[in-house]
């Protein structure tokens, strides 16, 4: 069954969607959208590093994404507004990454594959890494769910309940780095943030509890991945962007529906 490249691609897309859904909800609730973007953009630097060292791109990308996320967390609240800081870091990371890749001699690198993903070229071992990473992210978030939710609502509330919001933030940061590393093959660095945010945002108007929002986001993400790939096959369009387009259509649809029902109520 895994011999078919479309099957492998679909499974890869669904795997990323499942990890991105609960994490994406926290990114949306904590207003970390740009933070996700910065981490994802830094990934291209990780790609250059991995290629230089001639190793698999997953550990390289994960390490750089993690360093980026920790740097942002450390620098937060030290003089610059958060959006300025992230704007500087996100785009410089992307620019340095692109320059670094250009230094690489020897193998010609298909940069587009890393910027926009190369989901149709997912191998069996890629699939293993993607599902392994997704499983890790889902397990971590499920384990810390209540603590993460409490810290997201209010830091003092978390301290009073004997939790450490800084540790919970660190767990989200780690999950983000893992997600970026596994998603790079599927949607590419430029669209990873879209996979995090769009399904979660689309699920908002349908959900009454945080848990429901995460589950609905996973379904929306999975369906977007499967049908986006199908559409890419039928219309010969790029796969990663097609997936994001389907998710965006869901977002528009559900937002209109939600807006409509709120007006009636």
């Amino acid at each position: 069954m895994l011999d078919d490249f479309m099957t492998r691609a679909t499974l890869a897309g669904i795997g990323v969607a499942i990890a991105a859904a609960p994490l994406g909800c926290f990114v949306v609730w904590r207003r970390m959208a740009y933070f996700g973007d910065a981490t994802a953009h830094a990934a291209i630097l990780g790609v250059a590093l991995s290629l230089t060292l001639e190793m698999s791109i997953f550990p390289g990308v994960m390490a750089v994404a993690l360093i980026m996320a920790l740097t942002v967390t450390l620098l937060a609240g030290r003089g610059y507004a958060m959006d300025t800081l992230l704007g500087v870091l996100a785009h410089s990371a992307l620019a340095f990454g692109l320059v670094a890749v250009s230094f690489l001699s020897g193998v010609r690198i298909d940069l587009m594959a890393y910027l926009f993903g190369d989901i149709l070229a997912v191998s069996r071992s890629d699939l293993l890494v993607i599902w392994g990473g997704a499983g890790l992210v889902v397990a971590l978030i499920a384990w810390r769910w209540s603590a993460l939710l409490t810290s997201t609502l209010n830091e003092e509330l978390a301290y009073a309940a004997d939790l450490d919001p800084k540790r919970e933030q660190l767990i989200l940061t780690l999950c983000l780095a893992v997600t970026v590393a596994v998603a790079i093959k599927v949607v590419g660095v430029l669209l990873i943030a879209a996979m995090l945010i769009i399904p979660a945002a689309a699920a908002r108007s349908l959900a009454r509890t945080p848990e429901a929002m995460a589950l609905i986001a996973a379904v929306i993400g999975g369906v977007s991945a499967a049908s986006g790939l199908r559409a890419a096959y039928l219309f010969d369009t790029p796969a990663g962007p097609s997936i994001v387009c389907v998710a965006a259509v869901f977002f528009a649809l559900f937002s209109l529906l939600g807006w409509h029902s709120r007006r009636d109520a």
């Binding site: 609730w29 904590r30 609502l153 003092e156 301290y159 908002r204 429901a212």
Partner: protein
């Protein structure tokens, strides 16, 4: 043994000393109110007690096994986060629906279980926070400006609720408030803070202390009477709880 004992607490942010050598105790069943002008370190003190701030000197001792109910200053729930009152109440304590209902009733807002937190009025929201803090039958309730954003009647009703629940459950209360006239006579003991403890004692003693008058002016001396007057007319405001 006291429920909470803080000794010699100092908190510094860089060169800025926020608290200097502050000590306080909370005994079982008493209502202690911390008053002080803006920037006097009230919130820093409470945050140090719950462990959100590490003091640069001194320490906080809790009675072993002490259960704390915390009502934060204000809680902004992002509109993108859907959460019902029931789910919110169950966040840190695994309790059943009936316990949630009972806590809401005690806090004066029954029948809100299925509502979205984002659709509550200011008064309802604060009472849900109170209900959440009450859910594990705490030994001490900590309130940080819990009535910010409520009008005078709303906050008077809120503090009367706190007092009423105290007589039922016997918890102790440590709270911060700006609203001197409302909290002063609801307290057993008042601590007047301005970076350090200026004066301390029963509301009547503190209200007449020269240190207190220097901070708040003598005009607030009459505030006590104002509150009592309002209290007398409680029946007129009883609809407040059901708003």
């Amino acid at each position: 043994m006291s429920l909470i004992t803080a000794k010699g607490l100092s908190v510094r942010y860089g060169a800025n000393t926020v608290l200097h050598n502050v000590g306080l105790t909370v005994e079982p069943g008493e209502i202690v109110t911390i008053v002080g002008p803006n920037g006097s370190g009230k919130t820093s003190l409470l945050k140090t007690i719950i462990g959100a701030i590490k003091p640069t000197a001194g320490h906080v001792e809790m009675k072993p096994g002490l259960k704390i109910g915390y009502v934060p200053q204000r809680l902004h729930i992002d509109p993108t986060l859907p959460i019902t009152v029931e789910r919110f109440m169950r966040l840190s304590h695994r309790v059943d629906r009936n316990t949630c209902s009972a806590a809401l009733e005690t806090a004066g807002v029954p029948d809100l279980l299925g509502r979205q937190m984002s659709r509550l009025s200011g008064g309802q929201f604060q009472r849900v926070l109170l209900a959440r803090a009450l859910i594990n039958s705490p030994d001490v309730l900590l309130l940080d400006e819990a009535t910010q954003g409520l009008d005078q009647r709303g906050s008077a009703a809120f503090y009367q609720q706190i007092e009423a629940v105290r007589s039922e459950t016997g918890y102790a209360v440590l709270m911060i408030s700006h609203e001197l006239h409302v909290v002063m006579s609801a307290s057993d003991r008042v601590i007047c803070l301005n970076g350090h403890v200026c004066c301390e004692g029963t509301p009547a003693v503190v209200a007449s202390a020269p240190e207190y008058r220097a901070l708040f002016g003598s005009g607030t001396g009459g505030a006590l009477a104002l509150y009592r007057h309002e209290h007398d007319h409680d029946h007129e405001h009883s609809h407040e709880a059901a708003e």
